[in-house]
């Protein structure tokens, strides 16, 4: 379909992007001195931790920094066109015509008011001005069909909110296809999706590349995703390219420390947990849920988020809960610590039914059930110093005097690997991983017996993720805590869990000792989940 020429599809030479910062006269160097080329039909993954400049570099390929105040130097050539020098018309031709971009969040990236087919047709007409309305519509249906939307002709009339996440992502890819670009730039196209859907999308991209011969630049922070989709890898850190070469080679023999670190931190789903903590006492049941139920909404719109879940948590053990988005993990976790009141079923804590207790009645043992939250940003009050946040449970308990509280908070900060002097600093002065440590310290402060961790590491980079997971493991062992570890990432869960619970649609589909479930999954759903996990090893990736 595309004419294969000798000139590379993309040439980036000494690209630097700087953003002026709002306050003062400082600048953020998002990308500095980046150079790479991509041959026609080639596939390159740009990987690196958050904030390393991946998206910024990708945007430069389409000249999307124009008019935003960002300062771009160096040259970028896409399909022979100098992006920097191109005038507005030429740039518009390039966008979509030569290179198309697929953005991360599939919902917000589509116009909520227009039918998906119309949006695709509009983009098609932008690059085929001669095409009639009808022809563009037909093309839209065609590409939707191509990306695997069932009954495309009918679904083309749906609006984005009527599509599921995966379908939206497909629609965005279809939109790109509609213009027959020679290069597809995908900025984290699968981060918002479940593993199973992610696997489907990655497969689709692979297929399309083989079929149309278009080039692909995949921006991702997930090495697993990169490994399974491209031939070439570009590792970025702090706006610079750290390592660049064939994917297999880098994965097998990383040359740079940073790459090595990155690789080491990636959790593997097929590796057993090193030390399995044995519950102190087999009978010491801490928390017991029987037929737990939770509904949201009223009347016809009732959603049963958790349905008939029975679960036992013994002192000192770690229970992992996995399942795709919306399967009720968070809802279950919040019920376990009684942030939510169950609609039905029984919840016994140390033998006492706490399911229906009022806030006031809960107070006496609130401190024994704690939670670590997913989002390190919103889980800390931005207006209060982290020390105060950690001290809160101690102050509420009112057992210690001020000096003792401060001392204890400093001790906790140190324990989670932070500088004790961080007491008076505010959350925004910390990185994501550090904030999560603060969150853990806060949960530890009242000396709880159980901590529910709701996706405590999903918002973190692999390297930070590994550190935090390690910390949690240590603490659990040391303090003999019971931990409920919720995550959608099966590999992460495997690293910490003694027992595993797989949820789907609010129900438990499979439960058992972790290793058993991972190695011999019985339920088809669990099997599917495990199969969809992207593998890091090149051999596995191509398999």
């Amino acid at each position: 379909m595309t004419t294969v020429t000798d000139t590379p599809l993309v040439v980036v030479d000494d690209l630097s992007v700087r953003f002026p910062t709002g306050t003062g006269d400082g600048v953020v160097r998002a990308v500095s001195g980046l150079s790479f080329t991509l041959a026609s039909g080639g596939a390159l993954a740009v990987v690196g931790e958050s904030g390393s400049g991946k998206s910024t570099a990708a945007y430069a390929l389409l000249g999307l920094h124009r008019g935003t105040g960002a300062e771009v130097t160096g040259t970028v050539r896409v399909g022979g066109q100098d992006v920097q020098a191109a005038d507005d018309t030429a740039l518009r031709k390039l966008r979509g015509g030569v290179a198309a971009m697929v953005f991360q969040d599939p919902l917000s990236s589509l116009d909520p008011y227009q039918a998906i087919g119309d949006q695709i047709a509009e983009v098609h007409r932008l690059h085929h001005p001669g095409a009639g309305r009808r022809a563009s519509r037909a093309r839209a249906v065609e590409v939707l069909d191509r990306v695997g939307i069932p009954d495309a002709a009918r679904r083309a009339r749906s609006r984005p909110h009527e599509f599921s996440g995966g379908m939206r992502q497909r629609a965005l890819i279809a939109m790109a296809l509609a213009c027959e670009p020679r290069l597809l730039v995908a900025d984290e196209p699968t981060t918002a999706l479940d593993v199973t859907v992610q696997a489907q999308i990655l497969g689709l991209l692979r297929e399309l590349r083989e079929e149309t011969g278009m080039g692909l630049i995949l921006v991702t922070h997930d090495l697993g995703v990169a490994a399974s989709s491209v031939d070439e890898l570009l590792v970025m850190k702090d706006g610079r390219a750290v390592e660049h070469g064939p994917a297999r080679e880098i994965l097998a023999r990383p040359r740079e420390d940073y790459t090595r670190e990155l690789l080491a931190a990636v959790p593997r789903v097929n590796v057993r947990r090193e030390t399995v903590s044995t519950p102190k006492d087999d009978d010491s049941v801490l928390l017991e849920a029987t037929g737990l139920r939770r509904e949201f909404g009223r009347g016809k719109k009732t959603v049963t988020a958790v349905d008939d879940v029975s679960l036992t948590i013994r002192a000192g053990e770690t229970v992992g809960i996995v399942g795709e988005s919306g399967s009720g993990k968070t809802t279950l976790g919040r019920m376990l610590v009684r942030l939510l009141e169950p609609t039905g079923g029984e919840l016994r804590y140390e033998g006492r039914d706490i399911g229906g207790l009022k806030d006031r009645e809960l107070r006496s043992f609130r401190s024994e059930l704690q939670m670590v939250f997913q989002d390190p940003v919103s889980s800390l009050n931005p207006r209060r110093s982290v020390g105060e946040s950690i001290a809160d449970p101690l102050r509420v308990a009112g057992r210690l005097d001020d000096a003792a509280i401060v001392a204890r908070v400093r001790e906790l900060l140190e324990r989670v690997g932070l500088d004790p002097d961080a007491y008076h600093r505010y959350p925004h002065e910390f990185s994501g991983g550090q904030r999560q440590r603060v969150g853990i310290a806060r949960a530890l402060a009242p000396e709880p017996k159980l901590i529910v961790c709701d996706e405590p590491v999903s918002a973190l980079d692999v390297t930070t993720q590994a550190q935090v997971v390690r910390l949690l493991g240590e603490l659990q062992r040391e303090l003999g805590l019971a931990v409920v570890f919720i995550a959608h990432d099966l590999a992460v869960v495997r690293q910490v869990s003694d027992r595993l619970v797989v949820m789907r649609g609010g129900r438990i589909v499979e439960a058992g000792p972790a290793d058993t479930v991972y190695e011999r999954p019985r339920h088809a759903y669990t099997q599917g989940l495990l199969a969809a996990v992207p593998r890091l090893e090149p051999a596995e990736a191509t398999a």
Partner: protein, 329 residues
């Protein structure tokens, strides 16, 4: 949806009821004797006694209020002396002042207020959203600065200053326009419009400032949304981005606020009506307040309150219709 409606309608009813009760109670304890005011400047005690009886002012207040509510639901019969006057439901009673049916009084006043509100709405939509859009598109430029200052000045000008200014300028000095008198639309549409022009401008200008700011910020917010970025990345021109993708989302809050404001105009255009001598609801209310004409006051407050509540429901519906991401519950 039906459930939503039902709930909102019940809520609205409750609001209006509470409102009327509060008004009743407030005016009941206010000084001044309605019987004396109705009776005339030099009534003797016997006459006042008779009038008080005639107006049922001797009943306990809750009973008076109850009868008032009954009238709304099932109408009421009044003696005219020579015969019986049936005041049909919804009957808000008779004015203490001259035994006119309150319902009639309000119905007579509605056209003027509706004219004012509608015209002012057109003014603020055209002027407000127009300047708002313009300043959003020309952001950073001189146009934006000038428009920003103009709208700021607009919000800072109470209607009794802008109205006075307009009157002085167009009627007194330039003599381009007559001093406004209300001409019903049905009588003479052209004169209606000419006479309403200044009130529309005065009220519309004040409101348009608010709309300009809302439109501008809403437009900027929408332009920054991800789906706009998508189409920009496919080479859509800035103009088509706005026309095809941004406008609709940006307009949602404007439409919703318009509906809500239109509703509140029925009670809040009082100053404009006083300023320009428009025989509207607001004027009726102010006059009735001064003479403690309780049935009129309560009825007007109920009508304007209902307008506000309904307008808020409409606003929410419009908002939900315009912005798909909104969930009504």
């Amino acid at each position: 949806m039906t459930g939503y409606f039902l709930r909102r309608a019940l809520g609205a009813l409750a609001v209006v009821l509470v409102l009327s009760a509060v008004v009743y109670a407030t005016f009941y304890i206010a000084p001044g004797d309605p019987a004396r005011l109705a009776c005339g400047p030099r009534c003797n005690p016997e006459q006042i006694r008779q009038v008080r009886e005639q107006l049922s002012l001797n009943d306990p207040v809750y009973l008076q209020y109850w009868h008032f509510l009954q009238g709304i639901v099932s109408g009421h019969d009044y003696s005219t002396g020579t015969g019986v006057l049936h005041c049909q439901a919804p009957c808000f009673g008779l004015s203490y002042q001259n035994d006119q049916q309150v319902t009639d009084l309000i119905v007579q006043r509605l056209p003027a207020t509706a004219s004012l509100a509608t015209g002012a709405m057109v003014v603020w939509l055209l002027l407000g959203t127009g300047t708002g859009l313009l300043s959003a598109l020309r952001r950073g430029g001189l146009t934006e600065r000038v428009l920003t200052w103009l709208t700021l000045a607009g919000t800072a000008t109470p209607v009794f200053i802008s109205g006075l200014g307009l009157l002085m300028l167009f009627c007194a000095y330039l003599e381009w326009l007559p001093f406004p008198t209300y001409v019903p639309l049905m009588d003479d549409p052209e004169q209606w419009a000419w006479n309403m022009l200044l009130p529309w401008l005065a009220l519309g200008l004040l409101e348009s400032a608010k709309y300009a700011r809302l439109t501008r910020s809403s437009m900027l917010e929408t332009l920054a949304e991800d789906h706009i970025r998508t189409f920009r990345a496919y080479g859509a021109t800035e103009r088509s981005l706005i026309a095809r993708h941004a406008l609709r989302g940006a307009v949602a809050p404007v439409v919703a606020l318009t509906a809500a404001d239109f509703g509140s105009m029925f009670g809040n255009a009082m100053l404009t009506e006083m300023m320009f001598g428009l025989p509207g609801i607001g004027q009726l209310l102010v006059n009735a307040t001064r003479t403690i004409d309780l049935p009129v006051v309560v009825a007007v407050v109920m009508v304007t309150g209902t307008a506000v509540v309904i307008a808020n429901i409409v606003a929410d519906l419009l908002y939900a219709a315009a912005d798909r991401r909104v969930v009504l519950r």
